[in-house]
């Protein structure tokens, strides 16, 4: 977890540095045109987690397409597998997800810049299976007969979930057309299929679920490349 936070810090710093760098670009008399195109990237955070955490595998491709000066249509598609265990439960969630929505750039770029501080909305859909690998019976009187752990695994498949996301993030251009970004996603489950006599502990794309409600949280650490298609004054 600590490594994760440190890696996220590094990303924030790199992005910040990139923004600062671009601030110093001097103005010239050439009329600047905004680049419009398709930006395609991957979530490095998910790849990093695969190496940091033993029980996680994930991959996400994201893309956005610029509609106007400040508005982008966006989409993410990904896959995740996560095992969560505690004293009484050990379960694995595995599946795919797709998200779609819009980003709005709130950052007033200086001349020649192309950075984003954005907020956005997403709707996500996840399709997954959950496997209860083993469970230990919760029994206050287990000191008498001993704790019993049932190691018979049970698979709950055909599970789905739909959620909405509010996303805040930055995307900073580092080199020509290459962007790094971080974002935070606040999520709320709208519907989900609950397994019988169990619950969705982790939902691919949504992340960990909590007892306290249908809310969730996620982070993205992206690197992306802009494929410029055309230029416009605005």
């Amino acid at each position: 977890m600590l490594k994760y936070i440190i890696s996220s810090l590094c990303f924030v710093l790199i992005s910040f540095y990139a923004l600062a760098q671009n601030d110093s670009i001097s103005q010239d008399s050439i009329k600047y045109q905004n680049k419009y195109g398709l930006r395609v990237g991957v979530d490095l955070g998910k790849i990093a987690r695969h190496f940091i955490e033993d029980d996680y595998t994930g991959f996400e491709i994201n893309a956005d397409y610029r509609l106007t000066r400040d508005l982008y249509v966006t989409g993410e598609i990904g896959t995740e597998e996560k095992t969560i265990s505690n004293d009484y439960l050990n379960s694995t969630a595995k599946g795919n997800y797709i998200k779609g929505g819009i980003d709005y750039n709130m950052y007033q770029n200086w001349y020649g810049q192309d950075n984003l501080i954005y907020c956005g909305l997403r709707v996500g859909f996840g399709s997954f299976t959950q496997t209860l690998n083993e469970h230990t019976i919760y029994d206050l009187n287990s000191t008498s007969w001993g704790q019993y752990t049932n190691t018979e695994s049970k698979e709950f498949d055909g599970l789905t979930a739909i959620w909405a996301e509010l996303i805040f993030g930055i995307k900073a251009q580092t080199f020509n057309n290459l962007y790094v970004g971080v974002n935070i996603q606040f999520k709320k489950r709208l519907t989900e299929t609950e397994p019988d006599n169990f619950e969705n502990i982790y939902i691919p794309g949504f992340g960990r679920t909590f007892d306290s409600g249908s809310f969730g949280i996620g982070f993205g650490y992206n690197i992306s490349y802009l494929i410029p298609l055309y230029k416009k004054d605005k």
Partner: protein, 167 residues
């Protein structure tokens, strides 16, 4: 910009805390078997069993002391059932003198049931409920128990007795 970074960091810290993983007592329990003792000659009246303890017998025929019970004079007891087996063997031992288990009279009752795992929460996982409860008294030379009666074939809570024992 700085605010965004602060927000991201703040939420990263929040994310580390997983209080949902701590199972707090009281949510739900794996219920114990509740047994009440009645007078054989007057079946509506409860009757105390004197200097009495209940303990278990495991698969190797060794006695297993139940942490919830001690030698006492009582008309009802609670005994935990095995969560790893469909059969729990219980020994009902009365008239124990000076905590000497060589003394007194004991009867063995075999309790059989079917186990049902019931999901409680991510922190506590599953508890077990028991259904199709059945009891059989092992006959010996001097049974102090005359008969057993099932009141409730399913054990889902500890609020009322599941088995009556007449003596």
């Amino acid at each position: 910009m700085k605010k965004t970074i602060a927000l991201v960091l703040f939420c990263s810290i929040l994310w580390c805390c997983e209080k949902d993983d701590i199972c707090e007592e009281g949510a739900a329990i794996t219920p114990q078997l509740i047994i009440t003792f009645y007078d054989n000659t007057n079946p509506t009246e409860k009757k105390d069993v004197e200097n009495f303890i209940v303990y278990g017998v495991n698969d190797n025929n060794e006695a297993v002391l139940l942490t919830t019970t001690s030698i006492t004079t009582t008309d009802s007891i609670a005994a935990p059932l095995r969560t790893d087996s469909d059969i729990t063997k219980l020994v009902f031992h009365k008239n124990i003198e000076n905590s000497d288990f060589e003394t007194g009279n004991y009867d063995i009752v075999q309790v059989s049931y079917s186990r049902q795992d019931v999901y409680i929460s991510r922190a506590c996982g599953y508890v077990q409920n028991f259904t199709e409860l059945n009891t059989s008294l092992e006959t010996d030379l001097d049974n102090w128990i005359s008969s057993t009666e099932i009141i409730n074939t399913s054990i889902e809570n500890e609020t009322s007795a599941h088995v009556k024992i007449y003596h």
